[in-house]
Amino acid sequence: MRRTTLIALMLFAATSATLPALAAEKTLSIYTYESFVTEWGPGAKVAAEFEKTCDCKVEWVGVADGVELLTRLKLEGEGTKADIVLGLDTNLVAEAKATGLFTPHQLSPEALTVPGNFADDTFLPYDYGHFAVVYDTETLKNPPKSLKDLVEGDPNEKIVIEDPRTSTPGLGLLLWVKSVYGDKAADAWTKLKDRVLTVTPGWSEAYGLFTKGEAPMVLSYTTSPAYHMVAEDTERYQAAAFSEGHYVQIEVGGMTKTSHDPELARKFLAFMTGPDFQSIIPETNWMMPVAATKEPLPAAFDKLVKPEHTFLYSADEVAANRKAWIDEWLAAMSAK
């Protein structure tokens, strides 16, 4: 009897959770990655700010990550409800355009400061972060000062990295090494291999192992220390500045061809590069803004590593070479 009640309850919960919201006003449906719309993420604040200006309602759909976002879109095809897709990175842009589901934004926002001079007619950047080796100052006294240092350093000082086959930071490091070493990338990986404690499927596993103290270094972002400084009030974890420069991850948004209200969608994209949106990003998404914020960035951001040189392959280059480069990585890392 009790079980029947519970099943009934479940049916009720299932239907009530999925009933379409009664829409009295215009709605804008935005697909993004999940951490954007968690309670501490930028989602709620962004929606509130935008709703002030548009007389509309923002509806978020949050999928696991950027890659899942593209998968989701491919699965839904032209039947997608999305007006805006927010959270692809530059490595996914070529693949995303190939779906034919996006339409050019026709905007030309001024004064965007995007490293690597990324510009695109379909996707607009909204934030970026440089990949970096984050280290534990309590266990690592002499952090590497360059990628070369990292590759050739003491193999007993370990680093946890992510797998380029299953995660974006993993792919980021692969592209970083390729940018610096070019044809010699395989040799570099063969050397770095002894320093790699393990290769995890995603960022969470790697960062988890790092904060448990298993390795003094992890592949993360230059902005990671800002979180620890602002939210945990500790300077224990720092990013190492590499003299060659850092590879960048730029996050972009675009509007769909099938959007039921292209004007509203375009308005959002313009809003996305404006000060209201940009001011929310640093302390909620822990990434760097691409345009001016209303107030100067928090003090913690001043202490972050500011790469002197930025590496970025074009989306087409990545799309064309990804498989070959991953194969090269696999061969180097799997060798005995």
């Binding site: 519970l6 099943i7 999925t18 699965l75 290769v199 988890g208």
Partner: protein, 537 residues
């Protein structure tokens, strides 16, 4: 042992169940293939695939061998020592690892076996400089044994406890030593169970993903499951994903078939149902104590590490978090529903086996064989394939969001099916052998038989099966990952979400909550054990 009417009902239910399982997996796969564009390119069977296939089989084979070999002495010791303080808690622990997401278990294991883990600290304190490295094949094996040894122990122990009490009385009268008891009484029972247990563990290890990558130390440790995920999520190459899944099913299916041929079910013997008393093993007191102690330490240490990290979290704030409440309720509802559905599917699967015995070459036998195969192999169909396929199917039917909870429930139920069948089938077989003829000759059939004969006798295995199914569904993330965007927030989803935004402490707190819920779930199945004991006395 069934009346014609009963047999007909079971056959009908069995046919329906088989059709359901095959259709559910088939429709998803078909839709995925239909939707796929042309293959992205690149050869399918290359050196890479060969290497990961070899590694998949190697690590799964070794993990299975270790889990099963270690489980035999532990189950024997636990069966001999029928009353000591904490015994039921040790048994309760066995479903717990299944309820933990792989990431949580991996971090727990690292705290014990890792570079800064307890074991290495102890070794260092003893003056040993070279730390044990958990990253590599060793780590994968430790993690897989951690997940599967308790499972194997529980399944074998249940088998040993079904041995009629008369056997122990007789063996004592005959003055049989431990060796003879093992050879003549315990081994025949275990040998009947081992193929099923080993097969299940092999499948679980072969499809391992997070553990293999996280603790594997590098891409040399890659399973086919990783390649499937990569094909579907990163390369958008559905045909490759489907072909790889087929390869995985083919390889493991062949192995299961071989295993089945090795094992013959033990002969069932009647019993008057007197209480079990063990007279043997006075000599083995010390070794049994050590065996049980080592097993408990091995299983409990990573769990304690999880508890330790969990307690360090800001628990009062977490407890007041409305999102956590929602996730807890969703998780409970989904796991309750999927465990119920799982039992509904499992019962015809289990009941059809005795009906088909001694009837060679009949369609019934074919159906029984089909059901047995389907209920095992479903574990090898990657949830990511099924979930993606159903997403595509439901897209045409008014949006996947509306159906998302149902798909998640079915996927979880099917994932738990192989476990549940292995808990129920041997118990049911013994039960039917002992009561079947009598029931039919007394005319206690159909509902009366279920109500008065079957349910009371099978209460404990049913409860155990239910607890396993619920724990498994609680810890699952794979099915929810695809549909998660549609408002389904479960505990593992929330855990990963916190973990992914630097909230490691919150994640640890949620892991603790998951563990507690799992433990609570196993209470009914072990409390009824006490009830039986009282009844025996």
């Amino acid at each position: 042992m069934y009346t014609t009417r009963e047999r007909r009902a079971i056959t009908g239910a069995g046919g329906f169940t088989l059709a359901f399982i095959v259709l559910f997996a088939g429709v998803a796969t078909g839709m995925l293939l239909l939707h796929a564009q042309d293959r992205v390119g690149g050869t399918l069977f290359d050196a890479y695939l060969l290497r990961i296939t070899r590694f998949t089989l190697l690590q799964a084979g070794l993990s299975t061998l270790l889990s099963v070999l270690l489980a035999v002495p532990v189950a024997r010791a636990l069966a001999r020592r029928r009353a000591f303080a904490g015994r039921s808690w040790i048994i309760r622990l066995s479903a717990l690892p299944l309820g933990l997401p792989a990431l949580v278990a991996a971090l727990g294991i690292v705290e014990v076996w890792g570079r800064r883990g307890v074991v290495n600290e102890l070794l260092a304190a003893m003056g040993l400089a070279n730390p044990v490295s958990v990253y590599g094949l060793a780590g994968i094996l430790i993690a897989h044994v951690f997940f599967n040894l308790p499972l194997a122990v529980r399944l074998l122990l249940a088998g040993l406890e079904r041995i009629p009490a008369e056997y122990w009385l007789t063996s004592a009268n005959l003055g049989m030593r431990s060796g003879a008891v093992f050879r003549l009484i315990e081994w025949p029972v275990m040998r009947g169970l081992l193929p099923g247990v080993a097969g299940l563990i092999f499948m679980l290890c072969a499809t391992s993903f997070t553990i293999v990558l996280t603790l594997g130390g590098g891409p040399a440790a890659t399973t086919i499951e990783v390649a499937i995920y990569q094909a579907l999520r990163f390369d958008f190459d559905a045909p490759r994903a489907v072909i790889l899944s087929a390869l995985q099913i083919l390889l493991t299916g062949t192995l299961l078939l071989v295993l089945r041929m090795l094992g013959t079910p033990a002969e069932e013997a009647p019993t008057t149902g007197r209480a079990i008393r063990r007279f043997d093993g006075a000599r083995a007191r010390v070794t049994d104590g050590l065996t049980i102690g080592a097993f408990t330490a091995f299983t409990a240490a990573p769990l304690l590490a999880v508890v330790g990290s969990g307690l360090a979290a800001d628990l009062p704030r977490l407890a007041a978090d409305p999102l956590l409440h929602r996730a807890l309720i969703t998780s409970l509802l989904i796991s309750l529903a999927s465990a119920t559905l799982c039992l509904v599917i499992a019962i015809p699967t289990v009941a059809i086996a005795p009906a088909s015995e001694n009837r060679p070459q009949t369609p019934l036998r074919l159906l029984a064989g089909g059901l047995q195969a389907a209920s095992s192999l479903i574990l090898l169909v990657p949830p990511v394939v099924v979930a993606t396929g159903w997403f595509l199917t439901l897209r045409g039917l008014g949006g996947p969001a509306r159906f998302a909870p149902f798909v998640v429930v079915v996927i979880n139920a099917l994932m738990a099916l192989p476990f549940v069948v292995r808990v129920l089938a041997p118990a049911y077989r013994t039960h039917v052998a002992r009561t079947g003829r009598l029931s039919v000759s007394l005319g206690v059939t159909a509902w009366n038989r279920i109500r008065w004969i079957d349910l009371p006798a099978l209460r404990r295995p049913l409860m155990t099966a239910f607890a396993f199914a619920m724990a498994l569904s609680l810890g699952d993330l794979s099915a929810v990952a695809i549909f998660g965007a549609d408002g389904i927030v479960t505990l593992p989803w929330l855990l990963y979400s916190r973990m992914g935004s630097y909230r490691t402490a919150d994640a640890a707190g949620i892991a603790l909550l998951l563990g507690i819920v799992c433990l609570l779930l196993t209470l009914p199945s072990t409390t009824s054990e006490k009830a039986t004991k009282k009844h025996d006395a």
